[in-house]
């Protein structure tokens, strides 16, 4: 990309490491023993995972009556968590696919871990529809299959819930394939570095005999672009379809055409919040500050500012249409959102999603790692409450006051909410321990470009 006169591409890798140094630095966490911080996080995450296993077992044994659901509120924490985790995944695809198409170099240090995050987040999300079925062993009823025990009866293809099945399984498959394909050259590097027999065998099998042939690289790059081109509309479609689970109903608060873009922006916002949290943890615990620089964090903060502002604008639009549209049910719903029994959720959401990202207008805040860490967690708290507000507040007071009710979470609701974070972090921590979590080959390309730029300017920034 040609930059205007006097503007230089920022340095995305600090100093001027040699290619050998890059390999050594990135492979280091996988070859040595991880630090205390990693063990502490891992212990906590496994605790959460055990909690999830216990709670899910209890839930499946007893039935979903152990959740706080009732006749008015049939969807609550379960679907809130589902939408939340699917949303988290979206940032990974945005970084790996959309930023690839826009040729943003800053994605190279963070795309691998962001894609891994996507995969783990979609796995967490997929758990909730399964658990919500009550009889998860009959999960295959949601797929069109033949012959089935109902005679030639098929799923209802007009229902967004069935669209979801296709969207999410496609999204998971394509994300996984994209991620794995990106890993192959690095797995080959690990294979050639491996000393132990088992490591050699595992990396050797997984790297598919990769040897860095340029004839393969040439095709590989084209395929990466094609996958990015496919994943970009795919990721937009996934959260649009999730939003249609709500938007195609007639419920006040759900029945609105703004939902698809609003959900996609929210998904990217929450996902970037999660990427930020994870990367700050990773760079501190694995000493990768040179590769995941403050400039990367700053760029992500800018994306958070943009998407956070889009989400805030959507909140305002919803309130405006409720007032301007003149539908009494719609108007009541939004009054109830801001002043009803769940008002704390609404105001928490406004605080975290509309106000917090406004800090990122200032460079001072965008480059303050401690502040970014705290605000990235606030982003995710806010986005979880956004989904809670949309789902529970809409359901608990719909049309007839005789059908109104309240939802109170039970121990199992909260236990599963917490436990899924355990599952997610266990997977992520294992990933940063055993898989090259920065794309070495892509970083090597960026480092070589930087060397060229340095030589052209005659200066040495290192």
């Amino acid at each position: 990309m040609k930059l205007p006169e006097g503007v230089t591409e920022p340095r995305w890798i600090e100093g001027a490491p040699t290619l050998k140094q890059v390999t050594a630095d990135i492979a280091h966490p996988m070859e040595g023993k991880p630090g205390k911080l990693w063990y502490a996080c891992f212990a906590l995450a496994v605790l959460g995972l055990l909690d999830l296993l216990g709670m899910a077992t209890y839930l499946i044994a007893k039935g979903i009556g152990v959740w706080g659901l009732n006749n008015s509120v049939g969807w609550a924490f379960d679907i809130t968590n589902f939408v939340f985790w699917i949303g988290i995944g979206h940032a990974g695809t945005l970084i790996s696919a959309i930023l690839l198409l826009f040729r943003q170099k800053w994605r190279t240090s963070i795309n691998r871990s962001a894609e891994a995050m996507t995969i783990f987040a979609v796995m967490c999300a997929g758990l909730f529809p399964l658990l919500h079925m009550g009889r998860p062993w009959n999960f295959f009823f949601i797929m069109p299959y033949f012959p089935n025990q109902h005679g030639p009866l098929w799923v209802n293809f007009r229902s967004p819930l069935v669209w979801d099945v296709f969207a999410i399984s496609t999204y998971f498959t394509i994300s996984l394939v994209f991620w794995y394909l990106g890993l192959v050259p690095d797995l080959a590097t690990m294979r050639d570095r491996a000393a132990g027999k088992i490591k050699k065998l595992v990396f050797g099998t997984l790297s598919l005999g990769w040897n860095g042939s340029h004839r393969t690289w040439s095709r590989y790059e084209v395929v990466s672009l094609i996958l990015a081109g496919l994943a970009t509309p795919l990721v937009l479609s996934v959260h649009s379809i999730v939003s249609m689970d709500f938007a195609t109903s007639l419920l006040p608060g759900w029945h609105t055409t703004i939902f698809p873009p609003y959900f996609v922006a929210g998904a990217i916002y929450s996902g970037f919040g999660m990427v930020m949290t994870l990367l700050i943890l990773t760079r501190q615990s694995m000493n990768l500050q040179r590769y995941i620089t403050v400039r990367h964090l700053e760029s992500m903060a800018k994306v958070l500012l943009l998407t956070g502002s889009i989400v805030s604008f959507a909140y305002a639009t919803e309130f405006f249409s409720a007032w301007y549209g003149g539908n009494i049910y719609e108007r009541y719903h939004f009054l109830n959102r801001a002043t009803g029994p769940y008002a704390f959720g609404f105001w928490l959401m406004v605080l975290c999603n509309a106000l917090t990202p406004q800090l990122y207008w200032f460079k001072r805040f965008r480059t303050n790692v401690a502040l970014l860490f705290v605000t990235s967690i606030l982003v995710n708290i806010g986005m979880w409450f956004e989904r809670f507000v949309i789902i529970v507040v809409s359901l608990h007071r719909a049309f007839l006051p005789s059908g109104w009710g309240m939802f109170y979470p039970t121990v199992v609701d909260v236990g599963i909410l917490v436990g899924v974070f355990g599952l997610f972090f266990t997977l992520f921590l294992l990933f940063i321990r055993f898989v090259p979590m920065i794309a070495m080959w892509e970083v090597k390309g960026v480092v070589t470009d930087q060397q060229h730029a340095d030589r052209a300017h005659g200066g040495n920034h290192g």
Partner: protein
């Protein structure tokens, strides 16, 4: 019997120069091995554009056709079911699934075609011209010229372009 010449380069620019020069002097470039995709090598090596995008298109269209057929067959022909008074053939409602299957088929087929074409599969015996090519070494592999005179010329050319080492080797081409 040795049938290739392997030249290793520590610098990417030297490698590019060597590839261009070797081709202009009519030596046959077997392949180049690099730790990351080097831009400009396609032109230097004279590689034609891959036909893989056509696989994507064909597979995507297959996915689209499969999705539309499945939904139309089940909802209109096999077991029409009145849900909320919507028409049996609710084509608009079939679009999301058709899109998803287009992407799924297209993506999977493209990757499968890449692996087939590049002959990458688990358990493949890996052949590296130099142990460092997945780390920091750029290796240019020429087919070994048949006569001694051009062999000497090739070695001199590679050395002149900054090759760190030039060795004869054997490979199943």
């Amino acid at each position: 019997m040795a049938n290739i010449l392997v030249a290793t380069f520590p610098q990417v620019d030297d490698l590019l120069r060597a590839v261009r020069k070797a081709r202009s002097e009519m030596f046959r470039v077997y392949d180049v091995f690099t730790p990351f995709p080097v831009h400009g090598l396609d032109e230097a090596m004279g590689i034609r554009r891959t036909r893989l995008p056509k696989v994507t298109l064909l597979a995507g269209l297959t996915g689209l056709a499969a999705a539309l057929t499945l939904q139309f067959y089940t909802n209109v022909l096999d077991w029409p079911l009145n849900v909320g008074g919507k028409p049996d053939n609710s084509t608009l409602a079939f679009i999301p699934i058709s899109f998803e299957l287009t992407v799924l088929f297209g993506g999977l087929a493209t990757v499968a075609a890449l692996l087939l074409r590049a002959r990458l599969y688990p358990g493949k015996q890996v052949w590296l011209p130099d142990p460092g090519v997945t780390d920091d070494v750029f290796a240019l592999v020429l087919r070994k010229p048949s006569d001694d005179e051009s062999h000497q010329r090739a070695v001199a050319l590679l050395k002149g372009c900054g090759a760190a080492s030039v060795v004869e080797s054997e490979a199943r081409l």
